[in-house]
């Protein structure tokens, strides 16, 4: 009887942990996103009308995976076209994020709000950051 209870609680416990991992595989990325990006790009990644571009369903994000790390660290300015709309407001870099944290933010964005843009590894992000162009 005791063994059965123990076995049962272990299996349910494992199931529970597995389920919660599955629910939130991008936990750090999500928290970082909320603290460093959501004020501008919004919780749902929709951006702000014609002033701040979206990250959700954004062709730019899908097509410029190698540029994301540099944008996050050093910011971006000048015109950028996202889903056919031209945006032109400077974004300042988020210098507080480590290479590892940037990787987690990118993977959170790549798999949120219906996005399915694949994975960036820590190695790829490190390499991208070493080659950010000066502009």
């Amino acid at each position: 009887m005791k063994w059965k209870t123990l076995l049962l609680s272990i299996s349910f416990g494992t199931l529970f942990i597995l389920a919660s991992c599955r629910d939130d595989p991008y936990k750090q990325g999500r928290i970082l996103y909320q603290n460093f990006c959501a004020s501008c790009h919004m919780d749902d990644g929709s951006g702000l009308a014609g002033n701040i571009p979206p990250l959700a369903g954004a062709d730019y994000v899908a097509q410029h995976q190698e540029a994301l790390a540099c944008i996050i660290r050093y910011g971006m300015e000048g015109e950028v076209v996202v889903n056919g709309t031209t945006y032109n407001n400077p974004m300042e870099g988020i210098g507080a994020l480590s290479d590892f944290e940037i990787t987690n933010v990118i993977n959170y964005i790549n798999h949120s709000w219906g996005n399915d843009y694949g994975y960036m590894t820590y190695g790829e992000v490190k390499k991208a950051l070493a080659n950010c162009s000066e502009d």
Partner: protein
């Protein structure tokens, strides 16, 4: 429990539910009072909007309006506030009795052309949503009058400390409601308050 108390309980519960569902019939006046106890309307002001047109209290005569304070390069709360102002504009897009008034707190950088670009990119309806700039002290004084906190502070990432409040002003210039403009839930209630005020204005015109 005696049958009487059961009935009493049922009745009071019913009363509770019915009042909870009912919309508040009238909004309170939240403006400060003078020495004699009469409410003080928002003082007159003189700013210029994104279309280089003067904007003053007369612009809003007989109208209700929502006032807030922001600046275009603000990295913290302003984009979310703008998103919520857009939501209010969308909700009342067909009702010319409600206007919106956004003041920059960074008039040094937020010139008229810059406000115009910002407003157009947002999709602000001309004549409905005014983005104004002007004398810095006057802008900050008005923030006080709308119960908004605005302090310049170079140590903050924004360079400003501001509360992000939305203030609802009625047709007589009295403050009728306010909310935290960064909270979608509070703005939801605020939209209901605006509806209540517009009903009240309807009743007032019907009486006269």
């Amino acid at each position: 429990m005696r049958p009487f108390s059961k009935l009493g309980l049922a009745l009071s519960l019913l009363l509770l539910f019915s009042t909870a569902c009912q919309q508040q019939a009238e909004l309170p006046i939240l403006s400060p009072k003078d020495d004699r106890g009469s409410f003080l309307p928002v003082p007159d002001f003189s700013f210029v909007n994104q279309d280089s047109m003067p904007v003053s209290r007369a612009t809003f005569a007989g109208k209700a309006y929502v006032a807030d304070f922001f600046f275009t390069s603000c990295p913290t709360i302003c984009p979310v506030m703008a998103q919520q102002m857009l939501r209010i504009q969308r909700h009342f897009s067909g009702d010319s009795r409600l206007l919106l008034l956004s003041h920059t707190i960074d008039p040094g950088r937020d010139t008229v052309p810059r406000l115009k670009t910002y407003a157009e990119n947002l999709g602000a309806i001309p004549g409905k949503w005014h983005f104004v700039t002007g004398d810095k002290d006057s802008l900050y004084d008005m923030a006080d009058d709308y119960y908004n906190l605005v302090v310049e502070d170079q140590n903050l990432p924004d360079g400003f400390d501001h509360s992000g409040r939305f203030t609802l002003v009625g047709p007589k210039g009295y403050i009728r409601s306010y909310c935290n403009g960064t909270s979608p839930e509070e703005v939801g209630q605020f939209i209901k308050d605006i509806e209540t005020l517009l009903h009240e204005m309807e009743d007032a015109t019907a009486q006269h």
